[in-house]
């Protein structure tokens, strides 16, 4: 890449349901924390890219009353109406083009306002699925899960095991919403039934949360920050719509991972990555994500779990923060993964720090059954 870009600061809210803050206060507080973390003033910011959606915020032009809270008064601003990782990607393009040196990326969703699952149902084809009326993100993902489980011999217990791994890890993460240190497989299997095979604890919670990351181009980053975290690889891809796509594979994630690895010169992700923070909104997705990221062959995702390879003390820890099953403030979830990856690299993940992390992977997804995926490779050092 012509011009390198680094992350010089970050902040996230304490994700919870029914946060006792207005949307404006939630965003303002996290933006202030992020600027303090990066050691910059509002004057240093060149451009602001936010991520929120009108359907989730219950407002047409969901960012119009928040421009002042994100510090965009008389600053270049735009809104990506998707996952925060794509907002980060767009902000990075602006920096690499040389138009600006410092970019603030903000993403939020207050799930308490309106059930995000209802919003995902409203993203389906208005002429077909919305007329037939059986598809929402939970039923579609349940259909995907059953196909995957039957083809590769994965049981409900295996899914429960994944949920247990995430929820136990989350208990060490102060920002996580679900903290269940003593959760076990039976408790997961016994939680409220949604669409088979999913019970409630296998599905990401409805959360209110905000995440902010501050980017800077190379020379500015070196001036402002002693340990910048470099974006060594980044890519995003979109898949076909639900009806015309092979639900058994996350094709767009495979493509995004391949391109990001190329940019970051990664040959063997399982060995070269220190940690991976992926967005799995449903338990089975974590296995499919392992395979799409090339950590193992198709169908072998469950072995990485059973062999403890992706445990916090394993060869390649995945989601030491607890991931999306611990907190899912929709638009912010991908950016939270980036922040958790940065914390691991900078050694600031106290309580769930993975030792000696040099390079990390962060993944954001969007759309029913992860129709869009973004992969970012982060690294410390020069």
């Amino acid at each position: 890449m012509a011009k390198r870009v680094a992350i010089i600061g970050y902040a996230q809210s304490q994700h919870q349901y029914d946060v006792q803050k207005t949307r404006e206060d939630l965003v303002f507080d996290v933006v202030r924390d992020a600027m303090k973390n990066a050691g910059i003033l509002r004057e240093d910011i060149g451009t602001v890219v936010t991520a929120s959606t009108d359907f989730l915020d219950g407002r047409t032009i969901s960012n119009v009353f928040l421009s002042m809270a994100v510090g965009a008064y008389l600053k270049d601003e735009s809104k990506v109406e998707e996952d925060g990782t794509n907002a980060l990607y767009y902000a990075m393009m602006k920096l690499v083009s040389g138009a600006y040196d410092v970019a603030l990326v903000e993403a939020h969703t207050v799930g308490w306002q309106f059930n995000p699952h209802q919003v995902w149902a409203l993203t389906t084809d208005p002429l077909v699925e919305r007329q037939i009326g059986v598809v929402n993100d939970v039923s579609a993902s349940a259909l995907q899960a059953r196909m995957y489980m039957q083809k590769y011999g994965v049981s409900e217990k295996d899914l429960a095991q994944i949920a247990v791994k995430s929820l136990q890890d989350a208990s060490k993460n102060p920002n996580a919403q679900r903290k269940l240190p003593k959760v076990n497989v039976n408790q997961v299997l016994g939680s409220k039934k949604f669409c088979e095979p999913f019970t409630e604890l296998m599905i990401s919670p409805i959360s209110d949360g905000c995440a902010v990351v501050i980017l800077a181009s190379e020379d500015k980053a070196k001036k402002l920050c002693e340990k910048p975290v470099w974006i060594q690889g980044i890519a995003t891809y979109q898949d076909d719509y639900l009806r015309d796509r092979d639900l058994l594979s996350l094709t767009s994630l495979k493509k995004a991972a391949k391109k990001a690895y190329q940019m970051a010169k990664i040959k063997n992700p399982l060995r070269e990555l220190g940690v991976a923070e992926v967005t799995a909104r449903f338990a089975h997705e974590e296995l499919m994500i392992y395979e799409a990221l090339g950590l193992c062959k198709p169908g072998e995702g469950k072995n990485l779990i059973s062999k403890g390879i992706t445990k916090r003390n394993g060869k390649l820890p995945v989601n030491p923060s607890g991931g999306a099953l611990a907190a899912d403030p929709v638009c912010a979830t991908g950016l939270v993964r980036v922040i958790e990856a940065v914390k691991q690299i900078k050694g600031e993940a106290n309580g769930y720090q993975v030792p000696k992390v040099k390079r990390a992977l962060a993944h954001g997804q969007w759309g029913i059954c992860a129709q869009k995926n973004t992969v970012i490779i982060l690294g410390g050092g020069k």
């Binding site: 119009v64 002042m68 735009s78 794509n86 076909d240």
Partner: protein
């Protein structure tokens, strides 16, 4: 910043009701037209930027379902939406993607299909901007009379009517000038087959006869709600020169936000802007874009402008804020015909938003129309003078979002 150019422009005819197509088909009309104009196929496109105001169409994240229709499967695709400036922000997405060197050919498509919404296209969507504030204020006894009077004086005119009053007061412009602008733009639109309100040889007197909504706005002044989509193809320098005889080169771009301009901020709080026609965001955006383009005297160096003017007063307000005329003087040049097709500063020869408003598409259409003028492809509404540098403008939000894009007939 890598040299970048628009090499293909495609749009659909913008009409009140495009009931012959689904929104997906409408969007693919514009995309296939742009690909054809650029002389490439969908395989050559590296990434897709798209956007609309999803609340108006009632479909959340429509780019997921109609991704097939804009070529997104298997490609990087990013959705951008910023209210009225959506089209401009989507265009900026594609321009930055190529200017940053990360992609060689990017496609930007934006649209709106108002006729799919039962409530007169825009009303629910516009009211929904401040829906949370509205319920909040009503719970504190905001009287319906006060609400109707202050915010909804004549449906969509509510927001811009105050802005017009402020401008007219400080500049001396009169209602006759608004009639002139509306007539000029509907006359211009008659020479643009893609425009919506096309009135051949429309005169100010024709507009003056229309019923008054709330002084100074008449029905004849207000923009329509249209179904329509527009799309541009952006390429890096080598490819642009290879594929296009006369590319429209990117010279400068910016989109600075201002404080909410009038009526209310979050939770029905007040706003610290005393004159909604001051438009600091536009002034600062223009300053940045001109600096990038190396333009020091816009009044001489800019040959043509496409201004986002759902209301005629805004053509005058924003022309001045873009530095094309001195403060408070735009209406004098209007009177002398300087902003007509053969004038020194032709403005909105496409008819602009006053004649055509598919809200998602509108701000992208401004960039597209400037590109057509520079490429010499504007057909009947091509400016008389040669167009070397053109400025495209968009406003949105609570009159506090701006997009400015400057294109030229030679690279930076």
């Amino acid at each position: 910043m890598r040299n970048t150019a628009i090499i293909g422009c495609g749009q659909t005819p913008h009409r009140a009701r495009r009931r012959d197509v689904s929104v997906a088909e409408l969007v693919s009309e514009a995309v296939s037209a742009a690909l054809e104009d650029a002389g490439i196929t969908m395989k050559d496109v590296d990434c897709i930027f798209s956007g609309n105001m999803q609340g108006f169409g009632g479909i959340a994240q429509p780019d997921l379902w109609l991704g097939d229709w804009i070529g997104a499967p298997g490609k990087p695709a990013i959705r951008i939406a910023t209210g009225g400036t959506t089209g401009g922000s989507v265009a900026h997405g594609a321009l930055y993607a190529v200017a940053s060197g990360m992609y060689d050919i990017a496609l930007a498509v934006a649209w709106e299909k108002h006729s799919d919404s039962k409530e007169a296209g825009a009303t629910t969507g516009l009211a929904h901007v401040g829906m949370g504030n509205l319920f909040h204020a009503l719970s504190y006894g905001l009287s319906l009379k006060n609400l109707i009077a202050t915010t909804a004086v004549g449906a969509a005119a509510g927001v811009a009517v105050y802005q017009a009053r402020f401008y007219m007061h400080r500049s001396g412009a009169t209602i006759e000038h608004l009639d002139m602008v509306a007539a000029k733009d509907r006359r211009n639109a008659a020479k643009n087959p893609y425009a919506h309100l096309r009135w051949p040889n429309c005169q100010p007197e024709d507009i003056a006869k229309t019923e008054m909504i709330a002084y100074p706005f008449r029905y004849g002044h207000v923009c329509p709600a249209s179904d329509g989509a527009s799309c541009i193809v952006v390429a890096e320098e080598k490819l642009a020169k290879k594929l296009c005889k006369k590319p429209a080169w990117l010279l400068g771009l910016a989109s600075y936000s201002d404080e909410e301009n009038q009526l209310q901020s979050e939770n029905y709080g007040g706003v610290g802007v005393l004159d909604p026609s001051e438009q600091m965001g536009c002034r600062v955006s223009a300053k940045k874009a001109y600096a990038m383009a190396g333009i020091t005297d816009p009044q001489k160096e800019i040959d043509l402008a496409e201004i986002y003017q759902p209301f005629p007063s805004q053509e005058l307000i924003f022309a001045e804020r873009l530095g094309l005329f001195d403060d408070g003087t735009a209406w004098r040049y209007l009177e002398k015909g300087e902003t007509d097709i053969n004038g020194s500063m032709p403005t909105d020869l496409s008819g602009g938003v006053n004649a055509t408003n598919a809200i998602g598409s509108s701000a992208l259409q401004r960039v597209l129309e400037c590109a057509l003028q520079i490429m010499g492809k504007a057909g009947e509404h091509q400016a008389a003078k040669p167009v070397h540098k053109a400025i495209a403008h968009g406003w949105g939000g609570v009159t506090n979002y701006i997009t400015v894009t400057i294109l030229g007939d030679s690279p930076r």
